[in-house]
């Protein structure tokens, strides 16, 4: 199984940032979701960040909330997420990080969750509502299952805490670019570049930046600041919402957009 390390080391000569699209599994339905993920893999997604819909996504803005509702209504749940991930991995061996909420994991059984999802091809599970302070609740089972650890750093995380987070990271640091929830934004937060540079002085762990990365130029700016990866979620989910009922157009837009960002990241390297 391809690892994060494989991806980041391959992108090192010359140094390019990994392109990491985010999808809510099952948005808007199982089959379309699979074809959308493929449409992102083909033009060059390096890693996938995937969510399992939850009824109360407190870290998400309206775009992802609506995606969660669409996915849940189409019948997506933890069990079907396993099937969808297996189908994605059958198409391409691409590293997958889950980004999700704790109750789904706790309810399924933490050990069993990590074991089953690792077996399906998942590389890491980032729990949006579990901070480093309670990391011991998931770290043991995650490591035992063979998963990498990914934690979040936000613009208001104290430097001392950043170091503690970095020390427990084996996958990458999910760096949140803004104070706020997920969502497309017109302009990049002006603190994100300094945040990336600060993290780079504190750790060798790969730094991936998400929340509000909506345009190729945002991705390029973040990469130029030294980020090892850019995570684009709401902007892509917007394309799903704008084209409901027309899966071909959704896939075409996602594919074109990923291609555009990929090209921007490659030429700027």
């Amino acid at each position: 199984m391809r690892s994060y390390r494989d991806v980041f080391s391959e992108l090192n000569q010359p140094k390019r940032a990994a392109l990491i699209p985010f999808f809510v599994l099952g948005d808007p339905d199982f089959d379309t979701s699979l074809s959308l993920v493929k449409a992102a893999i083909d033009p060059g997604a390096d890693i996938l960040e995937l969510g399992i819909p939850f009824s109360d996504p407190i870290a998400d803005g309206p775009t992802i909330q609506k995606a969660d509702i669409r996915a849940a209504r189409s019948g997506m749940n933890v069990h079907k997420a396993l099937d969808l991930i297996k189908a994605i991995k059958a198409y391409r061996d691409i590293p997958i990080g889950l980004l999700m909420y704790y109750n789904l994991i706790a309810h399924y059984g933490t050990q069993r969750f990590f074991r089953d999802f690792h077996a399906a091809g998942v590389n890491s599970v980032l729990v949006a509502d579990l901070s480093i302070d309670d990391a011991e609740e998931v770290e043991g089972p995650a490591k035992a299952a063979g998963l990498d650890t990914v934690f979040m750093v936000t613009p208001n995380t104290a430097p001392e805490r950043m170091k503690r987070i970095a020390a427990r990271t084996t996958g990458f640091i999910y760096t949140v670019s803004v104070l706020g929830v997920t969502g497309s934004r017109d302009s990049l937060s002006n603190s994100v570049e300094s945040l990336v540079m600060q993290l780079k002085t504190l750790t060798d762990a790969p730094i991936c930046v998400g929340f509000g990365i909506s345009k190729p130029e945002h991705a390029v700016a973040v990469a130029k600041a030294g980020a090892d990866g850019v995570i684009i979620g709401s902007r892509i989910v917007d394309m799903i919402e704008a084209n409901l009922g027309n899966p071909e157009k959704m896939a075409a837009e996602v594919s074109a957009f990923i291609g555009e960002v990929k090209a921007a990241l490659s030429t700027s390297a």
């Binding site: 996504p57 109750n103 706790a106 309810h107 309670d134 949140v176 706020g180």
Partner: protein
């Protein structure tokens, strides 16, 4: 954080990283000011002259006669704003002021906490935003109007059902983006640490007063203490006064809605299983995949799928017992109390009274039962009229 904020296995602070800093700041401020002489004096002064503490304990003689044992009502309904909520909003509002925050946000279900926050926002000259589910905005329009009169902005929240849970989700999201100048005035003894501890602290006055008043008036401690439970702030407030009195039985009454068997209720302690919502591990109404279920209750203030962590702990340890009262018995009891005592109880508080009414003839006449009448029912008159039109 200095403390984990656990009650047994329950509680904690399961929140996104972005909220950790502001919760730490809150914990530190609460530790620093809770016993600060200036803070304590200012809170005491406002509690007395602004809110109306202490509230009376009233021996409801005709209701007692009806049920066949001695019932005393702790009259939190007589407080400014019409509910116990002001105890907490005064405390947290002052805390916000001492912390140098200039803006308040809050969630609300029935609108009582929203109103109590709007009042304190006006009192302290702070900009106030209240998040409220669209369903609740509609069924509690009088409170919405009152909040606006007090200068608060009411933000209607769609979400899954447009009730309290959705309002909390959106308040948390808003807070995430405004942590630097905004104080989240949480309304119930739930949510992430340190809120359950803070809310309990500011509501404990109910139990302390009630214990003293009961000894004065009834000549002894009560046998039973009852309160309704949504998130559980009025209940933990009154229970806290009696936790060490091992012979006093504590009963929390949840919203049985249309009946536990229908699945349309909000009885998380009675019918839920442990899970994680809104920053805490607690009993939760959830489906077989861990999705949080929609709740149903005639009272907006109890329409919540989780519950405060200390109640979960009291349930597991057996120190308190938790039961449910259904909408029908609640509406019946609302009418009864109005007819024989001239008191309109909030539909939330009526759940506790309904359970007491159900004990009619089953207890020794000398039994002393203390009920927290946590709010008044003026806001519910329209809802009662819909269900039980006067002829």
């Amino acid at each position: 954080m200095k403390h984990k904020g656990r009650y047994g296995d329950y509680g904690g602070y399961y929140v996104p990283e972005v909220l950790i800093g502001v919760l730490e700041e809150l914990e530190e401020a609460f530790d620093r000011f809770r016993d600060d002489p200036a803070f304590v004096a200012e809170l005491a002064e406002l509690s007395t002259h602004y809110a109306g503490r202490p509230t009376p304990l009233y021996h409801a003689k005709r209701f007692s006669q009806h049920v066949g044992f001695r019932v005393y009502l702790k009259r939190e309904d007589l407080l400014h704003g019409g509910a116990h909520k002001v105890n907490n909003t005064l405390g947290q509002g002052l805390l916000a002021k001492y912390m140098g925050k200039t803006k308040l946000i809050a969630e609300t279900g029935a609108g009582q906490h929203g109103l109590a926050t709007a009042m304190i926002g006006a009192l302290l000259g702070m900009e106030t935003k209240i998040f409220m589910g669209v369903t609740d905005v509609e069924r509690q329009s009088v409170n919405v109007h009152k909040m606006k009169l007090c200068g608060a902005e009411v933000v209607p929240v769609e979400g899954a059902t447009g009730t309290l849970k959705d309002a909390i989700n959106d308040a948390l999201r808003y807070w995430t983006a405004h942590v630097t100048d905004t104080f989240y005035l949480f309304g119930t003894a739930a949510g992430p640490h340190p809120y359950p501890t803070i809310v309990r602290h500011f509501q404990t006055c109910i139990g302390i007063e009630a214990r003293r008043q009961c000894i004065e008036q009834a000549g002894r401690l009560p046998d039973l203490v009852l309160a309704c439970i949504g998130g559980g702030s009025n209940a933990i407030g009154i229970f806290a006064g009696f936790l060490d009195d091992k012979d006093v039985k504590l009963i929390g009454v949840e919203a049985g809605g249309r009946g536990l068997r229908t699945g349309q209720h909000a009885a998380s302690l009675v019918a839920g299983t442990p899970g994680i919502l809104h920053g805490a591990r607690a009993y939760l109404l959830q489906d077989e995949n861990g999705q949080v279920l929609d709740t149903e209750s005639v009272s907006a203030g109890l329409d919540y799928p989780a519950v405060g962590p200390e109640h979960c702990y009291l349930k597991d340890t057996g120190r308190a017992e938790y039961v449910a009262a259904e909408d029908e018995e609640v509406l019946e009891t609302f009418g009864l109390l109005a007819r024989i005592e001239g008191i309109l109880p909030a539909l939330e508080s009526t759940h506790a009274l309904a359970y007491v009414a159900g004990l009619k003839g089953k207890l020794d006449p000398d039994t002393v039962v203390l009920v927290n009448l946590s709010g008044r029912g003026d806001k519910d008159v329209g809802i009662v009229e819909q269900h039980r039109p006067l002829t």
